[in-house]
Amino acid sequence: MGTLVDIRSVSCYTEAGRPLFEDATLTLSSGERALIIAPLASGKSVLIRMLAGLTTPDKGTVRVFGEEIAALTKEELNKLRQRIGFVFHDSVLISNLKVIENVALPLMYHRGSISFEEAMQEAARLIEGTGFRGDLWGLPGMLPLYAKKEIALARALILKPEIIVCENLWDGLTDTEKRSLSLLLLKYQESSPASLLVFTALNDADAALVKPGRVIRIDGSRITEEPRA
């Protein structure tokens, strides 16, 4: 199994100098399903932003697909980002695009050869797969939280990513919705060689929904891994 994510000896501090991570190391191999449990304000978002190349650590290196993120040009970074599907905790959708356009956007932007109709068909297929029952051609602003998460997940999957990174996926959802969304993730991950990295602040019972192969905890400023069962 190749290493997809290699966060090595990373230290990161807040503006006030409080350590978020000190000498933290984390790896993720191809096809793995890892769950990262961390309390609120413990640096989950910073870690995800580092994976996305939106921020760089104060010390240490972050390698994704073997590439050191900090050394990449803007174009190289944009290419690398296409191989990762991110679902953020606030499921940010582009407010002036219709629901279906939100999902089709990465395809329309990055795949010049695909026609508008094909992009829309693929987006509709993915949205349908999530069980979304809203208006595909409506704006996403008034959608309920669960529907927003469904759309954000469909958008993250449209470029067939090799890594799926989810942040606080279950926040604000009912138990049924949590189960449905987790099943969707598992279904995609099992039908593809993608690795799954789920960040959560929830308890272990909820965390078990994605049947993680590895459970990693951010505790204080350290990253520790639970022994595998």
């Binding site: 996305a52 939106l54 803007k74 970074l77 944009n78 290419k79 690398l80 980002r81 296409q82 990762i84 991110f86 953020f88 606030d90 940010v92 959708l93 582009i94 407010s95 002036n96 956007l105 990465p106 329309m108 932007y109 990055h110 010049g112 508008f116 992009a119 958008r155």
Partner: protein, 261 residues
């Protein structure tokens, strides 16, 4: 000493803003010239929407303002010219005032009021609600997808609206001149065509393109300067309006001096 320090700081801040504006102009030119095929369908969609909202939807307001301005200018001209024995100069007056100056300036002021504000607040909202970051993690360069089509759209829109404004205001002028003073349409048009040379059309065209560039760039810049709070959006919008107006008028004065002195 304190005054000098404050002045120095203010000048540095102005220079920094100008540098940031140049960067947006550079990114836009680079996107249009060298990255035309990247995300073409998605960016074309943004461009078309921008032109639709900025140019097409502004037609009603531009129409009646242009008609009224045409009427006002002809009324003023016809009240003064006979006393000076220059009734035949009506065409020149319209060309000098409307085509050289008021066409591009009025079109720009209307675009700033309608679309510059919309552009700054829309981008500000996108920035504060993390939509810009969401684009980045999809591998979509916000400068290429959000800013370049808006700047280009503003240029196309001001260009089109300037010519539309000039045509309608001249027609407005004729309504008064023709019906009120019994001037034949052919005489009126002849007088305008004689006064209108290559330089008038070129300067009008140049001004409209530059003003569109300024509006798109300044509005995008202030919109994207919003950080996390939505309370910054009204401030960004105000700064976009003031900044655009200031640069449009300065550029107008510079071009007028360069070409007509």
């Amino acid at each position: 000493m304190d005054t000098l320090k404050r002045l120095g700081r203010a000048l540095l801040e102005r220079a920094r803003v100008l540098f940031e504006l140049w960067k947006i102009v550079f990114y836009t030119a680079e996107s249009v010239l060298f990255r035309f095929n990247l995300g073409r369908k998605a960016t074309l969609d943004v461009l078309l929407k921008q032109v639709y909202f900025t140019a097409f939807e502004a037609i009603p307001i531009i129409s009646w303002i242009a008609l009224i301005i045409g009427l006002i200018i002809v009324t003023q001209a016809l009240s003064i010219l006979p006393r000076l024995g220059g009734e035949g100069l009506i065409g020149e007056i319209l060309v000098w005032v409307l085509i050289r100056e008021l066409g591009p300036v009025f079109a720009s002021v209307i675009v700033i009021a309608r679309s510059g504000t919309a552009m700054a607040s829309e981008l500000g909202l996108m920035k504060s609600s993390n939509e810009v970051s969401a684009l980045e993690v999809m591998g979509i360069d916000p400068m290429h997808y959000l800013v370049a089509p808006r700047v280009l759209g503003a240029m196309i829109s001001v260009f089109v609206l300037t010519f539309y404004f000039e045509t309608i205001s001249i027609l407005g002028g004729y309504i008064l001149a023709g019906f009120g003073k019994n001037i034949a349409f052919s005489v009126f048009v002849d007088s305008i065509m004689q006064a209108m040379g290559f330089i008038e059309v070129s300067v009008s065209l140049l001004k409209s393109l530059l003003f569109g560039l300024i509006i798109g760039t300044v509005s995008s810049y202030y919109g994207l300067r919003v950080k996390k709070s939505i309370t910054e959006i009204p401030q960004a919008t105000t700064k976009a309006v003031i900044g655009s107006l200031r640069l449009v008028f300065v550029t107008d004065a510079v071009i007028t001096i360069l070409f007509f002195i």
